[in-house]
Every structure is written in structure tokens, then in C-alpha cells.
Amino acid sequence: KKMAIREFIVVGRKEPSEAEPNPPLYRMQVFARNEVIARSRFWYVLHAARKMKKTTGEILSVNEVVEKNPNTVKNFGMWLRYNSRSGIHNMYKEFRDTTLCGAVEQMYADMNGRHRARASSVHIIKTAVVKAEDTRRPNLKQMHNSKIKFPLTHIQPRASHKRYRAKFVTSRPTTFAG
């Protein structure tokens, strides 16, 4: 599955000078759509946190982090900071997905839908894989059942491809699948 949001690790530092020949390195985990945006976000954060910017610093490496095991389901906890219309708030959210980037995509969509917080207003403070017993949200905990099973109560039948959609249909659809 091709990810829209990808994870990058960006390492950069202030340009070495005579006064400071070995400036400290800063490493940042960035979730961005591509490397260009990742670099930009790196400078956005570093410029605010330290006295350096793109013109006075250098990025030493940008590496994409690919999910180590995209075939296991994990619970991701995310600590965020977001701008609402009337202030800045911290938040903790949990998502279930097979990859961290998938969970981050879910988070942005969730923040947008629930709080009208667009991606530019959301900052990820921290992400972590959370063990099932340490999750806090009930909608995640309900999935932590070794014998989980549920029916598909209401299916909406659709054509297997757009080209097979009928313009007019003579019978009402059945939403019961068994």
C-alpha cells in the first residue's frame, strides 16, 4: 500500500565556523509527504527551538524510515499539540494500524474531522507503539479480544468496477450478507 505520509529522520546542524568548529547535531523525526517537505519542517522546528536557520545551517542527512513489520497490527499512541480556534491544546490519541505512517494519516484525518484542525495546525509531539494492556481509549480496547468476531451487519453492494455501474436498476439492493 503506497503511503501518502512517510516518516523521515532529518539530521542537521549549524554551519561550522571558526568559533564553533563542531556544532552539535540535531535529529528530528518528521512525518511528511516527501523529502522536500521533511527538510522544510526540520528548519521550521529548529528555527523556533535553536538559533539556526536554513541559510546558517546544513542538513547532513535525510533518511526515510520504512515500517519494520507492516504485517502486524499495532496500537499507536500519539501525543499532539494543536491550534483550535480559541487556543493551543495538548492531546493524546490512539490508533490501531499496521504501520506508524498509516496511524499518522488516520490521526490527521481524525483531527480534521473531529476538531476541524487542519494538518498545518497539528504538531506531533511524540508517537509510540503502545501495548494492548496500556491503551487508554475504549474504541481501541474493544478490539483487544483474542476471540473477537462480529458480523457485517449492513453491506452496501457495489459493482466490482466503476464501468459496471448500472445507470438504472430495477431491484432494490439487499444489505444483508449473512
Binding site: 500500500k1 497490527v73 478490539m143 483474542s146 476471540k147 457485517l152 451487519t153 457495489r158 466490482s160
Partner: protein
């Protein structure tokens, strides 16, 4: 167990569960069978179909039809064990001999007919119709 009886009372016989065989009806894996290995959330499952060419991946439940078959596997079974379980269960044989499987294979057969075969088919259908109508007319006459 109370859960199970409640679900059955509601008339549901097929459930999304680990080991359920699903038929994928949309997207790039359209038309293939796969096995549910884990449930991500109420909209997505992790499936794999090593014998039908479905790589291990997330699958939205919207793209899926549940079949009657449940394999006795454990959550997150690896490909090798899964293949063995599928072969032991004889999934292909069971599905292909079921009415669902036969409908699918008939559909494929029909789609692959040559023009001459379609002509032959048309003649056979005419014959069948003729015989049926004759039998119906005879039965009606006998009933009077």
C-alpha cells in the same frame, strides 16, 4: 457465549473473525479468496491468500464478502502455516464445488466463449425452451 447466541438470534451466520475466508470483490485483488489473519479495527482486516496470490495486506471490509468457511488458524499465522492450513482444509476444492464457486466458474466460462460456441449455446437454449414449453403444454392439457 451469550454474545454468540445474541448474534445468531439476529440472524447473522457469517462473522468477521480470524480464519474467516473472504472473497475480495473490489480493487486490484478483485475475484480472489483470502483469509483473515487479524482484525485491525471495525473497518479493516489483515488478510492473506498465499494460494490465490493475495499478499499479506490491509483490506477494508467494504471490499469483502464473507464466505461460509473458517479455517482453524491462530491470529497472525505466518504464510507457511497458513498455506498448510489452506491445503489441509482443501479450500480450493470446497469453494469450487460450492454453488458460489460454480457460479463464478460459469461466469468465466461464459466470458471465454468463442463466437461459434455462443452460436451452439443459442441453439441449445432454443432446444431447451422448446422441450420445456412442450412439457408444460402437455401437463396443462393433462390437468384439464
Amino acid at each position: 457465549n451469550i454474545e454468540k447466541t445474541n448474534l445468531l438470534k439476529m440472524g447473522f451466520k457469517r462473522f468477521v473473525q480470524v480464519g474467516r475466508v473472504v472473497y475480495i470483490n473490489y480493487g486490484p485483488e478483485n475475484g480472489k479468496l483470502a483469509v483473515v489473519l487479524d482484525i485491525i479495527d471495525n473497518n479493516r482486516v489483515l488478510v492473506e491468500g498465499p494460494t490465490t496470490g493475495v499478499e499479506r495486506q490491509q483490506m477494508p471490509l467494504k471490499r469483502v464478502n464473507l464466505t461460509d468457511y473458517v479455517l482453524p488458524i491462530q491470529r497472525g499465522f505466518r504464510t507457511g502455516n497458513l498455506t498448510k492450513a489452506i491445503n489441509d482444509f482443501d479450500l480450493e476444492g470446497k469453494f469450487n464445488s460450492s454453488s458460489w464457486g460454480q457460479r463464478l466458474s460459469n461466469r468465466q466460462l461464459r466470458a471465454g466463449l468463442t463466437d461459434y460456441q455462443r452460436f451452439e449455446l443459442m441453439l441449445l437454449r432454443k432446444q431447451k425452451s422448446y422441450l420445456l414449453k412442450r412439457a408444460v403444454a402437455k401437463a396443462k392439457k393433462a390437468a384439464k
